[in-house]
């Protein structure tokens, strides 16, 4: 690489201001610059304007003020095509892949190698292999995207950008959807890119990750830049203070649990018949009043199927699930929520958690619209509606203009908060939570954890699944590990249990005796 490229930043954004059409100021006079060969972190609370800034760099949003310099020369980037031409690539928060197409087809989309008027499929496969070998990111070019694990899909996204010659790679919360193992693998890949002289812009809510691989960090707060720092020179406390504006309490006080009667009973639950391998294989456990049971495991080992069976999203094929003695297989989803008093926070919040074309207040209160407090003879009581919505927005610090905005205008983390606020704000017997803090900033994560503890102390039975080992250890009173659809370990208490030990069960290296596993079930 020439020295000229080293002396000027790869990209410089100067005085960037972005005001969305609804008047939200997402960025205000932001300066941002990255060099070749560095991994540059962008941090900030939910709604701080990180995604917006990156979308402008990738030509997906237009800025209202400011300029972008590419290797010192001013450029205007009005579309992703123009960004790609400048060798900028972006891996989005949600995957931009076509599930029914193969890896190779996704790779070459819009830059297809041709043989006459036809696509040269062999060449597409060859090119995919070539790029994947060059960067040491192994991939099967003929695999269908729909069949791939999340981590591999992300690798395809990165390869897709590299195939288009990207030298500057933007990754918007790439680790939010990854397991710890996949995250380690991603970091290995990013370091390879850095060695090749590429630039990586890395957005994450996890300070630990930034400390691990980033060189510099830009911190955003309320749409403004709080400065650029060398990661090695700045402490975790300083980062969170700059982001939030005040100290974030890192350790919450958690009282010991005092469990009561059993609320959720799962007996001999099996699922996935007729599709080859079982997704759930003879699962037995229970959750009592006033305790938090955690599920640990590498993603894709049956956790999702389990939670969807419990919440009524999947039909129970074999075995028994009862909530306070009510057979779940005989209840509609409405009855599970209303009669059995169960709340459910799904993993895919955009797909199952919100109606994205509805307003914030409608989404916040969708689960209680037919309550006397909110409607009479089918007509909504607007006043109570607005009042409660406002309270929830405040309590859960949802960053928005007002309660009548559409949910799809919120930032990723704030959409999550809407779902969490709706599900945690009603008296429930059982709460099922899939990935409580995915995509949520540190402050809000702590708030949600605190809320979960409060609900437990008030006597709610809570079942939590999280791919984040640190989080699941912090939340759970007791915990079981799932591997290939089975419970392979159960820990009544987590005292003295290390992450390494859990890891051995999660990877299927070890398995407890049937007697030990039976402990997970209480009559």
């Amino acid at each position: 690489m020439s020295t000229a490229e080293h002396s000027v930043p790869a990209i410089e954004m100067k005085g960037i201001t972005k005001i969305y059409s609804n008047g939200v100021v997402a960025n205000k006079d932001v300066d941002f610059s990255v060099n070749y060969g560095e991994i540059h972190a962008v941090m900030g609370e939910n709604g701080a304007g990180k995604s917006t800034l990156m979308k402008m760099l990738f030509g997906l949003e237009k800025m209202d003020k400011g300029q972008i310099l590419f290797e010192g020369k001013e450029v205007s980037i009005n579309s992703p095509a123009e960004a790609i031409a400048l060798k900028i690539g972006m891996v989005h928060q949600e995957f931009m892949l076509v599930p029914s197409l193969t890896v190779a087809e996704n790779m070459v989309l819009r830059e297809e190698p041709r043989k006459g008027i036809f696509i040269d499929h062999n060449k597409a496969i060859e090119e995919t292999k070539k790029i994947s070998e060059m960067y040491n990111l192994p991939i099967d070019p003929n695999a269908r995207i729909a069949d791939l694990a999340v981590g591999i899909k992300q690798r395809v996204e990165i390869l897709k950008a590299l195939y288009r010659g990207a030298k500057i790679l933007i990754l918007d919360e790439p680790t939010a959807v990854l397991t710890p193992q996949e995250t380690e693998e991603l970091f290995r890949q990013l370091l390879i890119l850095k060695e090749h002289g590429h630039t990586v812009i890395f957005i994450s809510h996890k300070i630990r990750e930034i400390k691990q691989i980033c060189d510099r960090i830009t911190i955003l707060k309320n749409g403004r830049s709080m400065g650029v720092y060398q990661v090695k020179d700045i402490s975790e406390g300083d980062i969170s203070r700059l982001m939030v504006g005040h100290e974030v309490k890192m350790n919450l006080d958690k009282k010991p649990a005092s469990p009561g009667k059993t609320v959720l009973k799962v007996e001999h639950l099996s699922y996935g018949y007729g599709e080859g391998k079982l997704k759930l294989d003879d699962v037995n456990f229970s959750v009592r009043k006033g305790e938090i049971i955690g599920i640990a495991g590498v993603e894709g080992n049956g956790q999702r199927e389990l939670l969807e069976c419990l919440s009524g999203l999947r039909k129970i094929q074999r075995g028994k699930v009862a909530i306070n003695g009510n057979d779940v297989s005989k209840m509609s989803i409405y009855d599970i929520r209303e009669k059995a008093k169960t709340a459910y926070i799904p993993q895919d919040r955009l797909l199952f958690g919100v109606a994205s074309g509805a307003t914030i207040q409608e989404n916040l209160l969708a689960n209680r619209m037919d309550y006397e407090e909110f409607s009479k003879a089918g007509v909504l009581k607007e006043k109570n509606f607005v009042k409660t919505a406002k309270e929830l927005i405040k309590e859960f610090t949802i960053k928005c203009d007002n309660e009548k905005q559409l949910v799809n205008m919120l930032s990723g983390g704030n959409i999550q908060k809407v779902v969490v606020a709706r599900e945690l704000s009603m008296p429930r017997e059982l709460i099922i939570i899939d990935q409580p803090s995915r995509g949520i900033d540190i402050g809000a994560t702590k708030f949600i954890h605190q809320k979960i503890f409060e609900l437990r102390d008030a006597g709610t039975a809570i079942l939590v699944n999280s791919a984040d080992l640190a989080e699941i250890r912090e939340l759970s009173d007791s915990l079981f590990v799932m591997y290939e659809g089975e419970i392979v370990a159960f820990f009544r208490s987590l005292d003295g249990v290390t992450e390494e030990q859990l890891g051995e069960y999660m990877l299927g290296i070890k398995k407890q005796t049937p007697e030990e596993i039976k402990e997970a079930f209480h009559e």
Partner: protein
């Protein structure tokens, strides 16, 4: 009557009446792959059928007439796309508006040019003739069934092959499929989804036009008001039944065509006309219901079998 079903003539009829359905199914398939369910196929057929007839009547130039009919189809496709994609209007409302409009417009145009509101029989329009296939035409039975069809019929079968290659072998097909399935994925690699959708709808209009012109310039050489009789919609159903595969859509079209041919025979044999006319439509609906019920049943029984097997294994 049974003999009418077993004759070569009956099979010839199936192919004949399936022709517009195949065109409509291909029109639907390409649009649907691009993420747009095109409910204006029927009215596009009607517009092109009329355009071809009028141009040929007034110029006596068949190629020019076909060309104008095709242009009309493409324009209708893009018209639909323009409102739905560029102006962001609701797909169903736009479709219904266009359908309602064409219904009136065809009658009005017909009247303006011929002075008749029912058909174009007052003017002399041209038509594509029937083509004999050398060698095959001399094979007994087979020759009678597949030779001597209208030119458009052969084009219909060629268009199935064309559609397959377009969708699965060309860059454009790949992009249409990508845009239809996940338009943000296409956008993220710099593609313009609106453009691709418009192209898909232009193709959709093109095939609709062929289907329409077959009716007024092939099968018959006259335009009759509402002569498509909902065939465009049956094409959409055939495409749905074929699950997005051109060959499957063609087979489904032939199935509906068979129902149509049966109706023809029954009609000749003095069955009540109204009931007979309903047969193709009833078969369409029944076909879809049976098909999806069958799929569901297959899945359920597979699960039950697997559970029973597991239980036997545990008992042993």
């Amino acid at each position: 009557m049974l003999s009418s079903f077993l004759s070569a003539e009956f099979f010839y009829t199936i192919i004949r009446v399936s022709t517009p359905l195949i065109f409509a199914a291909m029109a639907s398939l390409i649009a649907r792959k691009g993420g747009v369910t095109n409910i204006t196929i029927d009215s596009t057929m009607l517009m092109s059928a009329l355009t071809g007839v009028l141009v040929s009547a007034f110029t006596q130039n068949l190629p020019l007439a076909i060309f104008c009919g095709l242009v009309m189809g493409v324009v209708m496709g893009i018209f639909m796309g323009y409102f739905h994609i560029m102006m962001n209007t609701n797909l169903i409302l736009t479709g219904v508006a266009i359908n309602t409009f064409t219904r009136g417009a065809t009658v009005m145009i017909l009247y303006a040019f011929t002075g008749d509101k029912g058909s174009s029989s007052l003017v002399k329009s041209l038509a594509v003739g029937n083509w004999d296939i050398p060698v095959i035409k001399d094979i007994p039975i087979l020759g009678q069934i597949i030779s001597g069809h209208n030119g458009f019929t052969y084009i219909a079968f060629l268009s199935v092959i064309f559609t397959w290659y377009l969708m699965y072998r060309t860059p454009l097909g790949l992009r249409i499929r990508a845009v239809g399935e996940n338009s943000s994925a296409a956008k993220s690699v710099g593609e313009n989804p609106a453009k691709i959708k418009l192209i898909a709808l232009a193709f959709s209009g093109f095939f609709s036009a062929l289907g329409g012109m077959y009716m007024s310039m092939g099968n018959m050489s006259v335009f009759i008001t509402n002569m498509t009789g909902g065939r465009g919609f049956i094409g959409v159903a055939a495409d749905a039944m074929g699950r997005g595969n051109p060959i499957g859509a063609m087979l489904a079209s032939l199935l509906f065509g068979t129902a149509n041919a049966v109706a023809n025979v029954l009609q000749i044999n003095n069955f009540p006309v109204d009931m007979v006319m309903a047969i193709p439509y009833v078969v369409s609906i029944a076909g879809i219901i049976i098909y999806s019920a069958h799929e569901q049943h297959k899945k359920n029984s597979k699960i039950k079998k697997a559970i029973a097997e597991a239980e036997r294994g545990e008992a042993a």
